[in-house]
């Protein structure tokens, strides 16, 4: 969807950890919300809308997202919302709220402690509860079925997967928020055992606890507070049917449609951050989003090296926005995914120049 009002990312912060047994969810939210607002240059009281993305199944209790509000400063009472989705979808709702003219700015946060339960089993419960969840395929099992479908259809091999994993791990060495990183070669990864055929552990995102926060603002509010705002040129999300066998798992039609509607190919792209939790997902998504060879893809290392659940998608937006705000990139694409086998996809095109 194209914007009626210009809206930009003007502040971003993230926090990640592996199996953090000290901090709870709120204690992840507190510092990132403060830091994102601080970076935006805005005052908390001037921000018009507050919204979060999280998933109760990660903590194993109902309404666990409500306590996240303790970390954001909610008095006098704020205009607030929540999505049971990655924070990227919360950002979409905030963007719509600004489009309506109701508010001029928003703080968005996503958080999750993936290490509390068995993450891969938790995600089984988002499948058809009658004929699929009853067999208990894990998130990784379903991804492996998609990987096998993709390799069969494309003629690619596990070397192509290892190339994605090796590049991600090497790029992550420059990212302080990455929880996995290594100076590793494709051949070294290929020498490791296949753990979830055709995937190796290096093709699977690490279990990551964390949170992220983003401040967005409209028009003059953004210009006033940020020298070079990362303008949202287009943002769109789409969904594929849940029936895994009905979809051609070698492709991601909803990602392709979201990319088209967001206007990915309306201009040249300097950088793309793709929310791929498995190596093959990056390859499928490059095709779906129409990312040309030569584009810098996942310079942060991507979700394969840091995957804070319910925040990793919005981190992609933040990573691209940061590169625009500091002048390293002119125009970039951020992508977020949810659901088994890339069922839901959000694409956001960001640009520095007016």
């Amino acid at each position: 969807m194209s914007p009626l009002r210009d809206v930009a990312v003007i502040g971003f912060a993230q926090e990640t950890a592996v199996e953090d047994r000290d901090r709870n969810e709120v204690e992840f939210v507190i510092p990132v919300v403060r830091e994102a607002i601080e970076r935006s240059g805005m005052q908390r009281r001037d921000i018009g809308f507050t919204i979060s993305g999280s998933c109760d199944y990660l903590a194993g209790g109902p309404f666990t997202f409500v306590m996240g509000l303790d970390g954001v400063g909610a008095w006098p009472p704020v205009k607030e919302s929540h999505v049971e989705m990655d924070g990227a979808w919360a950002l979409y709702e905030a963007w719509v709220a600004i489009q309506t003219g109701d508010v001029d700015s928003a703080v968005i946060y996503g958080f999750g402690k993936a290490s509390l339960g068995d993450l891969h089993e938790v995600w089984t419960l988002q499948t058809d509860p009658y004929t699929v969840a009853t067999l208990w395929p894990s998130m990784v099992d379903m991804a492996a079925l998609q990987a096998d479908s993709y390799l069969t259809a494309s003629g690619r091999t596990d070397r192509d997967l290892a190339e994605v994993a090796a590049r991600s791990l090497r790029r992550a060495q420059g990212n302080p928020h990455a929880v996995a990183s290594a100076d590793v070669t494709v051949d070294e990864l290929l020498a490791r055992p296949v753990t979830h055929r055709p995937l190796r552990d290096s093709d699977v995102a690490p279990i990551t606890d964390g949170a992220a926060a983003i401040v967005i603002a409209a028009d003059d509010v953004a210009r006033k507070h940020c020298e070079r705002p990362a303008w949202i040129r287009g943002i769109e999300h789409r969904v594929d049917p849940q029936h895994l066998g009905l979809r051609d798992l070698a492709t991601a039609p909803s990602a392709a449609l979201a990319a088209e509607k967001a206007g990915v190919n309306d201009g040249a792209i300097d950088v793309a951050e793709i929310h791929a939790q498995f190596s093959h997902e990056e390859l499928i998504l490059r095709d779906a989003l129409g990312i040309a060879d030569g584009v810098d893809v996942n310079p942060s290392g991507g979700a394969l090296t840091s995957n804070p659940m319910m925040a990793a998608g919005m981190v992609r937006i933040g990573e691209v926005a940061n590169r625009i705000i500091d002048g390293r990139a002119g125009r970039g694409v951020a992508h977020a995914a949810q659901g088994p086998c890339l069922q839901q996809n959000l694409v956001c095109v960001l640009e520095g120049a007016r």
Binding site: R21, D22, D70, D118, P129, Y130, L145, L246
Partner: protein, 324 residues
């Protein structure tokens, strides 16, 4: 720094989650019970299995059910080397696979029970049916290898008690997830304080409001509550409720009993407690109370058993009206 407080937490519906299944899945699961695989024709003519009562592409109502299989073809697979007891219905390594039954245009997620080196994309498979079938997805226990060109035998007669002509209308699905929940830094300090007989609150640098229990931040501003403040175990009843409904837990007091919000001296968030030591009808707003601690102190909320009157005069309303 002391060890973090971690509690094991099981999320489970005892006896399983009961689901009604609607007309399409009734056909499908009833079909499995009867040794048949039932799909449905979509608006575009393709046959999809398992069926739904709506076309997932157009949302049109569909009900042209079609029997497919029994043989099929593996279109994708992955290997499960460590089956999970209580979750997976096979107790030995197996494959999750997408299997397209003959006559269907879509594949279904199911399992293939065969040696890993015998499985490949394109392999022919047939159902291995359970002898006793009840109308559940595992009535088709697994897909197993079928020689190229061979035909699958029909399902053996159902020997289960569910062998009848009644439609399948529901299923019971066991759901169990396990967690290790940690209290967090702020709540952890508070709980460890309780174990020492102390009630620890906290406040932020930019506020004089003391939160008990502390959550790590001042919820009005989001500022971190970095300053630890010990509050008293005495306080004032700000509001209360006389309970006349018996509690479900064995720990519930005999009715009638009183639960109250108590503003602890030195704190700014009323806290929940039971009031004992006087008739329920005599409990009132402004009553001054003190905590009765358990004999053995632990790092949890069981430490304070209840509150009893201190005998002091009631607090004036102005002292607590902001919290009432």
């Amino acid at each position: 720094m002391t060890a973090p407080l971690v509690e094991h937490h099981v999320l489970e519906y005892p006896g399983g989650y009961t689901r009604s299944i609607g007309p399409a899945l009734s056909r499908y699961l009833g079909g499995l019970r009867d040794g048949k695989i039932v799909g449905v024709r979509l608006t575009d003519g393709r046959v999809m299995v398992p069926p739904t009562e709506y076309d997932p592409i157009t949302a049109a109502t569909i009900d042209d059910y079609v029997e497919v299989g029994p043989a099929g073809t593996v279109t994708a697979w992955t290997w499960v080397s460590d089956p999970r007891p209580g979750k997976h219905h096979l107790d030995h390594p197996f494959a999750f696979a997408l299997v397209r039954p003959d006559g269907a245009d879509t594949a279904m997620v199911h399992v293939v029970d065969a040696p890993q080196d015998a499985i490949s994309v394109g392999m022919r498979v047939r159902p291995r049916w359970k002898a006793e079938r009840v109308g559940y997805v595992t009535d088709l226990e697994a897909w197993v290898p079928l020689a190229d060109g061979a035909a699958a035998d029909p399902a053996p007669a159902n020997r289960g008690e569910g062998a009848n002509d009644e439609p399948v209308t529901g299923i019971t699905t066991p759901i169990r997830l396990e967690y290790d929940i940690n209290a967090g830094t702020a709540a952890g300090k508070y709980l460890l304080g309780l174990a020492e007989g102390k009630i620890l609150g906290a406040r932020a640098e930019d506020s004089d409001q003391v939160y008990v229990p502390p959550r790590g931040s001042d919820p009005t501003t989001g500022s971190p509550t970095t300053i630890e403040v010990e509050v008293a175990d005495t306080g004032t009843v700000t509001t209360f409720c006389i309970v006349n409904v018996p509690g479900l837990s064995e720990a519930a007091p005999e009715i009638p009993y009183v639960c109250a919000q108590i503003l602890l001296d030195g704190g700014n968030t009323p806290w929940f407690g039971l009031i004992q030591g006087l008739p329920a009808d005599d409990v009132r707003m402004g009553l001054r109370v003190h905590a009765i601690w358990a004999d053995e102190l632990k790092a949890d909320a069981s430490n304070i058993k209840w509150f009893e009157p201190t005998g002091e005069p009631d607090a004036p309303y102005d002292d607590y009206k902001a919290y009432a």
